[in-house]
Symmetry: C2
Subunit: 222 residues, 2 copies
DNA sequence: GAGGGTCTGTAACTAAGTCACCGAGACAGT
DNA sequence: ACTGTCTCGGTGACTTAGTTACAGACCCTC
């Protein structure tokens, strides 16, 4: 059993709460653990609580009727599912779905308590609105990129993003297509073109970056 | 001078407020009027208050470097600029811009008072979150359509939406392209194709719908 | 009624997505 | 090791969407 020991440390705004609410928070919220691949929420599966992610990554994506997918954003450890919550509070049908990309550990704050936190704590409000704000701003960027950016530029960006500090990205061409809302064949062609230019090497399920600067140059719109 | 006479009638949640806050609301908020075409907010122009729209329409759109535009959503009378506000509260740089499509009249609730309303009134929270929820859900639809829907289907949908009950849409091809984040030539071609099929007639700056059912059939994915 | 601005038409081209199919590699079971 | 199956990637022909670069048509004002 995971105890509620120390998790509030990860969320400074919570430490500012009045003692009474703070103890309610420890009592009423529970720590949930879910295996990789779990569907955290999705159409017709409204979340019943506000999630604070302690460990792991949640991928939020959308699937079209034709089966094509696009990744909207990721929730990382230390962040909250703020958009989900807003939809929860607003009763609206949430269109996207959230998948655990890794095993995850999260705090689930029940709806009623969430409402009380919002009412009570200015810091908590700030925390929630900031999270909203970041997500929405990011959504705007997604729209802009899908609508106006070339696919090679977007692919270069995404490869660098997914690689992080590492030199390789573990993903199939289909996975990359799903990231960008594109089609597998398109990604395959672009990757082969990148490989032909010596920017990377492709193997089954892996892309190994060999010329980061070149990718970066293309990514920032060159 | 517009007095603060009756505007709260348009927003039922406000009527539930405690008398003290309610009178503050009447005092501290002011009614603003702006002419058509005003830029309400935009990049590098953060709104300083929460807006409740009494009359008119605000178009929220995004412009790419290359000059292409896409309409994200519209704020109608009786609604609020909830997304804007979240970004305001969260200090994030707002990427989109808001333009008055008609002369508008709105109530501007200062930031501090907005915060107090959120803290005080459950109904007000519900109101704000619901508005938020609707916008976000709508943004998800925009992403899905831009990413996955055919341009002819999207154009048919948009024409029906813009026409409303009327039989005509007053807009140039460029305007329609900006609605959808597409290019003028593409829209011209599609409109001519629709005209060839007898679904509409095009004139300079006007599209007259002659076969609504046909457009509707295409719009709902046919 | 001339000139300038806005709006639309057109053609040739590039980029992106779709369709249909294939073959190579991985892997499990016998 | 052999075989069947499944996933992954390659390929070519095709359609759709967006781009580039014009040319006219319409409209308003002077």
């Amino acid at each position: 059993m995971s105890s509620n020991r120390d998790w509030t440390d990860a969320f400074p705004p919570l430490r500012q709460l009045p003692a009474e609410i703070f103890s309610q928070l420890r009592e009423a919220s529970l720590i949930v653990e879910l295996p990789e691949g779990s569907r955290i929420f999705g159409p017709g599966q409204a979340p019943e609580s506000f999630l604070l992610l302690l460990d792991g990554t949640i991928r939020v994506q959308q699937t079209s009727e034709s089966g094509r997918e696009i990744v909207l954003y990721r929730v990382q450890a230390g962040e909250s599912c703020a958009l989900t919550t807003a939809c929860l509070m607003g009763y609206e049908e949430y269109q996207a779905e959230g998948i655990a990309e890794t095993p995850i550990r999260a705090v689930a704050i029940p709806r009623a308590l969430f409402d009380r936190l919002i009412a009570t704590s200015r810091d908590f409000r700030q925390f929630v609105f900031t999270a909203f704000s970041r997500r929405v701003t990011n959504l705007f960027r997604v729209i802009e990129e899908v609508a106006f950016e070339r696919i090679d530029v977007r692919l270069a960006q995404k490869l660098l993003e997914l690689a992080g500090a590492k030199q390789q990205v573990v993903a199939t061409h289909q996975d990359l297509a799903n990231e960008l809302g594109s089609a597998r064949e398109v990604i395959s062609r672009q990757l082969n073109e990148f490989a032909r230019r010596g920017w990377l090497r492709v193997a089954r399920g892996v892309v190994e970056i060999t010329d980061r600067p070149a990718l970066a140059r293309l990514a920032q719109h060159g």
